[in-house]
C-alpha cells in the first residue's frame, strides 16, 4: 500500500510541480470548448437566427411570375440568406466555397412548371450548383426549395395572371391529354371550376390559397419548460472528453518515457506488485483527468451558465467513469506503444477519430447510418451522451447508469488488454 500511495503521490507531485503545465492542462480545454460553444450558440454573429442562415445564390433566368414568386418565398425563409446573381457569378461562388448552393431557374421554367402541374406535362428542371464538400446543406436546401416551388406554382394557378393563362390553355388542349375519358371529364370540370374561381376573384387574385398547409411551432425540448438549450454544455462535454483522452495519452507515453529512462527497472527491481505499479498510474490518471473535467465544467457553470439540470449524482458517476476510462486508455497506450514519440502520434490520431465519431466536434447525424450505428463502440460517444444527459437534457440518475456502465466496461477491457500486452520484462 505504501508503494501504491507513493507512486500516486509522485505523479501528483510532478503534475502540480509544473505550474505552466497545470495552467495549460486546465486552460486549453476551456478555451477550445468555449470557442466551439460560441460557434454553435451563434454568438458573435448577431444572434442565433442570423448565425444559422444558409447562404444561397439564385439565378433567375426565367423572370416569370412563378420564378419571381419562388425567389420571394425563399427570401422570406428565415433559414436562408438569398442573393440573386447571374449564372457565372453563382458558379464562381460555389467553386470558391463562398456559398454551398446556387439555384438556377432556367428560362421558361414558370410556364413549363404550370403545365406540368395542371396537365401532367414533362416537368422542367431546376438547376442546383453545389459544393460537394457540403452535402448536408444541399440536402436541406433541396427540401426547402421543393416547398417554395410547390407553393409558388400552386398560388399562381389559382390567382396569378400566368396561371389563368395556363388554365385557359389547359382547357383548350384538354382533349389532347392522354387520359381515360371519365378522368378527362373530371379534369375538365376541375379546370373550369378553377377558371370560374379566378374570374370571380378579379385580376388581383386570392391570397392564401395553395400555400403550405401548416406552420411549425418549434419547441426546443430541454430539461424543462423555459430552460433554453445551452450549447456550452455540449461543447464542454465534447472537448472535455477529448482532453481527457489526450491526458490518457500523456499518461501512457509517460510510462513509456519512464521505461526509456530506466525508471521501470527501479520499480520492477523492488518488491512491488504489478497491480500496484499499473493501478497507481490508473489512480493518479483518474484523479488528474477528473480534476481537469471538473475544473472545465466549473468554468462553464460560472462563465456560461451551464447547469447540471439533471442528477448531480449521475453527473458525478459519469464524470468518474469518464476519468477511469481515460486513465485505463492511457495504460493501454503504454502497453501497445514502443517509443513515446511514435506512440503519441498514433494515439493522438486514434483519439481525434474517437472524439469525432463520438459527436464531440460535429453532430453525428451527418454521418452515414452505418457509421452512426458503429459509434456505439466509441467510448467518447457514451461519455458525451452521459454528460449531455446530466447537464442540458436534465435527465435523472437512471439515464446516467447506462453510459457509466458502458464506460466502466470499456475500462475493464482496456485494463485487461493492458495486463495482457504490457511488457513487464526489462532487459
Amino acid at each position: 500500500m505504501g508503494a501504491f500511495v507513493a507512486l500516486v503521490g509522485k505523479d501528483l507531485q510532478i503534475f502540480f510541480g509544473d505550474r505552466r503545465s497545470v495552467i495549460l492542462t486546465l486552460a486549453v480545454p476551456i478555451a477550445i470548448a468555449s470557442f466551439f460553444g460560441a460557434i454553435f450558440s451563434g454568438a458573435g454573429g448577431g444572434g442565433a437566427s442570423e448565425a444559422a442562415k444558409i447562404p444561397v445564390m439564385v439565378v433567375d433566368d426565367d423572370r416569370s411570375a412563378i420564378s419571381k414568386s419562388i425567389v420571394a418565398g425563399m427570401e422570406k425563409d428565415s433559414a436562408l440568406k438569398i442573393s440573386t446573381v447571374p449564372l457565372d457569378q453563382a458558379r464562381a461562388a460555389v467553386q470558391s466555397g463562398t456559398t454551398a448552393v446556387a439555384v438556377v431557374i432556367p428560362p421558361g421554367f414558370g410556364e413549363a412548371a404550370g403545365r406540368a402541374f395542371l396537365a401532367a406535362a414533362q416537368p422542367p428542371e431546376i438547376g442546383l450548383l453545389f459544393d460537394p464538400s457540403r452535402t448536408a446543406e444541399v440536402s436541406m436546401i433541396r427540401g426547402m426549395l421543393t416547398g417554395h416551388v410547390m407553393e409558388a406554382v400552386g398560388q399562381e394557378m389559382f390567382s396569378g395572371v400566368q396561371g389563368r393563362a395556363l388554365v385557359d390553355e389547359a382547357l383548350a388542349n384538354i382533349d389532347a391529354i392522354n387520359l381515360p375519358a371519365d378522368q378527362r371529364e373530371t379534369l375538365r370540370s376541375l379546370l373550369q371550376s378553377v377558371q370560374r374561381f379566378n374570374q370571380t376573384n378579379g385580376v388581383t387574385g386570392t391570397q392564401g390559397l395553395m400555400t403550405v398547409p401548416y406552420t411549425v411551432n418549434e419547441n426546443a425540448v430541454t430539461s424543462r419548460a423555459n430552460v433554453a438549450y445551452n450549447s456550452y454544455a455540449h461543447s464542454f462535454a465534447g472537448m472535455g472528453i477529448q482532453f481527457l483522452l489526450f491526458a490518457g495519452i500523456d499518461l501512457g507515453t509517460g510510462i513509456l518515457l519512464e521505461r526509456e529512462r530506466g525508471l521501470w527497472k527501479r520499480f520492477r527491481s523492488a518488491p512491488v506488485s504489478r497491480f500496484a505499479m499499473l493501478g497507481a498510474r490508473a489512480m493518479s490518471g483518474t484523479l488528474l483527468t477528473l480534476l481537469t473535467l471538473l475544473v472545465s465544467f466549473g468554468f462553464a457553470m460560472v462563465v456560461f451558465g451551464v447547469r447540471i439540470e439533471g442528477s448531480i449524482a449521475g453527473f458525478a458517476l459519469v464524470a468518474l467513469a469518464c476519468s477511469i476510462m481515460a486513465a485505463t486508455f492511457g495504460l493501454l497506450v503504454s502497453a501497445l506503444g514502443r517509443t513515446a514519440a511514435a506512440t503519441r502520434r498514433v494515439a493522438g490520431l486514434a483519439v481525434l477519430i474517437m472524439v469525432m465519431l463520438g459527436g464531440a466536434w460535429v453532430p453525428s447525424f451527418i454521418f452515414p447510418a452505418w457509421l452512426q450505428t458503429v459509434t456505439v463502440v466509441i467510448p467518447a460517444r457514451w461519455a458525451v451522451d452521459g454528460l449531455d444527459a446530466m447537464t442540458w437534457r436534465g435527465l435523472g440518475l437512471q439515464a446516467a447508469l447506462l453510459p457509466t456502465f458502458v464506460m466502466l466496461l470499456f475500462s475493464l477491457v482496456f485494463g485487461a488488454l493492458t495486463l495482457w500486452k504490457f511488457r513487464w520484462e526489462e532487459a
Binding site: 503521490g9 527501479r266 520492477r268 526489462e426
Partner: protein
C-alpha cells in the same frame, strides 16, 4: 572464513532466450559479502540480461538466483529487499528534488517514514549530496546525477548491490567519488556486482572478474589468476584489456 567472506549471492545455470536468440546460456557464479565482482563482456555478451535476471526484471527460462540460500521468485518476493539496483540509465525524476526521488524509491521497499528519512540522510551524505537534497535533479550535473543514482540503489541497505555501468559519462572527479563510495560499501560488507566496459575500473575495484561472451562465462577468476592463465605471460603483468581481448576476440560487436 569470517562473516564478510560468506557467500551471499549464488546464480546457477541461468538461461534466457528471446525467440531463437540465446542471450544467456548456463551462467553460474557466486559472490561473497564485502567483495566486488567485475562482470565484463563485449556488447551483446549477456551481461545486462544476467543482471536483469538477478534483479528480478527478467524471468529466467532456467536456473536460479539465491540470496543467502533463499531462491528469488515473483514480483513481490521479500528477497528483493536484499538486492539493490543501480541501472545504467539515470533512473531519476528530473522534475523532483533529490529528496523526493529518494522518498519515492525508498517507499517501494516499505521503509517506515523514520527509517526512510534516516536512509535518505545516510545515502545522500555517502554520495556527497546532502546539501543539495532539496534541489531539483534537473539542476544537477551529470556526475551528481550518477551519484544520486547510486544513492537510490542503496536506500534500503541491500546485501547485494548490482551496478550496471555506473560511471558512464562522468568526469574523473565524480568517478573517483563513486569508487570511494563503493570501497566504503565493500568495507561495510555489501556484495557488489559491477558491469563495465572500462577495464581500468575492473582492475582497480574488482576482487574477482567474470568474463562473458555469447551468453556464456568464459572466465571466472581473480585478476592475478587470469594473468597466470595467459599463455606465455611470464611476468604476470599483462593488462586486463589484453586478457579480455584474448578471451573474447577482436571482432567488432556493434
Amino acid at each position: 572464513m569470517g562473516r564478510l567472506e560468506r557467500t551471499v549471492l549464488v546464480i546457477s545455470e541461468l538461461q534466457k532466450a528471446y525467440g531463437s536468440i540465446v542471450a544467456v546460456n548456463g551462467v553460474s557464479f557466486s559472490l561473497e559479502r564485502g567483495r566486488l565482482l567485475g562482470l565484463l563482456g563485449p556488447n551483446g555478451a549477456g551481461k545486462s540480461t544476467t543482471v536483469s535476471m538477478i534483479a528480478g526484471l527478467v524471468t529466467p527460462d532456467h536456473g536460479t538466483v539465491t540470496i543467502d540460500g533463499v531462491r528469488l521468485s515473483g514480483d513481490t518476493d521479500p528477497v528483493k529487499r536484499r538486492i539493490g539496483l543501480v541501472p545504467q540509465d539515470l533512473a531519476l525524476y528530473d522534475e523532483l528534488s533529490a529528496r523526493a526521488n529518494l522518498q519515492l524509491f525508498g517507499s517501494l521497499y516499505g521503509l517506515s517514514t523514520r527509517a526512510l528519512a534516516a536512509a535518505i540522510s545516510r545515502t545522500l551524505s555517502l554520495v556527497g549530496l546532502a546539501d543539495r537534497m532539496h534541489d531539483k535533479v534537473k539542476t544537477f550535473s551529470g556526475g551528481m546525477k550518477r551519484r544520486l543514482n547510486l544513492a537510490a540503489g542503496l536506500l534500503h541497505d541491500p546485501d547485494v548491490l548490482l551496478l550496471d555501468e555506473p560511471t558512464v559519462g562522468v568526469d574523473p572527479q565524480s568517478r573517483n567519488a563513486i569508487f570511494e563510495n563503493l570501497e566504503q560499501l565493500k568495507a561495510s560488507g555489501t556484495a557488489l556486482l559491477y558491469t563495465t566496459h572500462y577495464m581500468e575500473e575492473a582492475e582497480r575495484l574488482a576482487d574477482r572478474i567474470v568474463v562473458m561472451d555469447h551468453g556464456r562465462v568464459l572466465a571466472d577468476d581473480t585478476l592475478s589468476g587470469l594473468r597466470s592463465r595467459r599463455a606465455g605471460a611470464a611476468d604476470g603483468s599483462a593488462s586486463l584489456e589484453s586478457l579480455f581481448l584474448e578471451l573474447t576476440g577482436r571482432s567488432l560487436r556493434d
